[in-house]
Amino acid sequence: MNWTWFHKFGSPPHIYRIAGSLAPWFGWPAGLLIIAALYAGLVLAPPDYQQGDGFRIIYVHAPSAWLSVMIYGVMATAAAIGLIWRMKVAHAAAASCAGIGAWFTVVSLITGMLWGKPMWGTYWVWDPRLTAQLVLLFLYLGYMGLRSGIDDLGRADRASAVLAIVGVINIPIIRYSVEWWNSIHQAPSVMKMDRPSMPMDMLAPLLMMLLGFTLYFAAVMLVRLRAEILRRERSASWVKEALQ
């Protein structure tokens, strides 16, 4: 079995170049898609039967929540690859994800709170999804804290990789336990905008937003990845050429 392609994949100069050329191909379509989705969601979609125009917060809340969880998965996967195959590029990828993921976890919490206040009267409810997002935020902060607490970059990469893997295994357990906790105490489950039951003219902008945000994440992450690769390449010869 010829593994050259795999190891080429792990080659920093190769990835550096590819990331550079790919980023705009993700970025511009992301921008267009998001703008189109905004128009469809804010203008074209009809008001909701129960929540009126207030439901439109879903068009920013759902993509943020999706990003927050998806990015953690990407981060943990990259970290695992870096740990198992000892690929610096994979560790660089994991490092590129953390900040973006944390930001959008915060956004999902704030938009969730802003959705909750007009609907259920309080800024915060211990709804399973909001609570799980809060725990996720702490998982991100812990990851970032561990990275910044270790001076040696290689050690920081490897230690935070272990943490990311442990975290990703825990996330389903945490989500399950939080839902269980919520159902036991019979608190209202508030974030009820079930996708299957939404009519197409409300659902389509949501799907467009989800896709647009995913492409956006890819674009931003690739730019960060280039920075992280450079940080990990001490005096490799390719760097000189790449900087011209």
Partner: protein
């Protein structure tokens, strides 16, 4: 080839025997400093004391929050003791010896985790019913509290060992250790507090107990691996 001075075993010792010797050594070292052993217990007591003072002396109301108070207190107290799990061994080179002594690191780390539980988790568990009385918990609830905390504290020690390994050598690692470990401990807290609540209400707590047991088993199989990996990364 003679055994390294710090370690009570050599290359020829079997893996299980080596682990037991590590456990033994930890227990004997700890017994020499009983003050250290009492600190988490004292902390647990103080934290529990703060709630009536900060809230109300009425036992009815305290009983309602007792599950949360007991579990959060035990969690925090357990976290306090975690910092020293690897600290001294890292400082005097014992951890490095662990890495090069030819014994599987997982076993040795598992032994250290067990010693943390025996020296901290188990005492905290045994103390909880007494503190429960201060919060208006009925005596009939004590077996339930004991069993749920016994299981939960095992998982806490296991998760904590991973955190302690990861924060080896991080300056002011104690706060970071808590930040890392507490989110991971959320499921234990949820199931454990619920078990305590049911115990206080006099109802059956088999459901949460099973959940706590499965967390403990999952932790016992996976956590030592992660903790060993973390220690290896932290010492190299």
């Amino acid at each position: 080839m003679s055994a390294p001075e710090n370690l009570p075993f050599g290359v020829r010792t079997g893996a299980l025997a080596a682990a037991f010797k590590v456990l033994n050594r930890d227990l004997r070292l700890a017994v020499r400093r009983p003050g250290q052993l009492l600190q988490p217990l004292a902390f647990f007591a103080v934290v529990t004391l703060l709630f009536p003072l900060g809230y109300t002396p009425e036992l009815e109301k305290l009983r309602a929050i007792a599950p949360g108070v007991l579990w959060v207190g035990a969690l925090l107290a357990s976290m306090l003791a975690l910092e020293s799990l690897f600290r001294e061994d890292a400082a005097d080179g014992t951890l490095e010896q662990f890495l090069i002594c030819g014994q599987p690191l997982v076993g040795l780390i598992a032994a250290k985790t067990l010693s943390h539980w025996l020296l901290t988790g188990l005492p905290l568990t045994l103390m909880a019913p007494i503190l429960g009385i201060a919060l208006g918990v009925p005596v009939a609830a004590m077996p339930g509290i004991l069993s749920s905390l016994a299981l939960g504290s095992v998982t806490l020690s296991l998760i904590g060992a991973v955190g302690a390994g990861l924060t080896l050598g991080v300056r002011r690692g104690g706060v970071l250790l808590s930040l890392l470990t507490l989110p991971l401990a959320v499921p234990v807290l949820i199931f454990g507090a619920r078990a305590t609540e049911l115990a206080i209400a006099g109802e059956s707590l088999t459901g949460p107990l099973y959940l706590l047991a499965s967390l403990a088993v999952l932790g016992a199989t996976l956590a030592p691996l992660a903790a060993a990996a973390a220690v290896r990364i932290g010492v190299e």
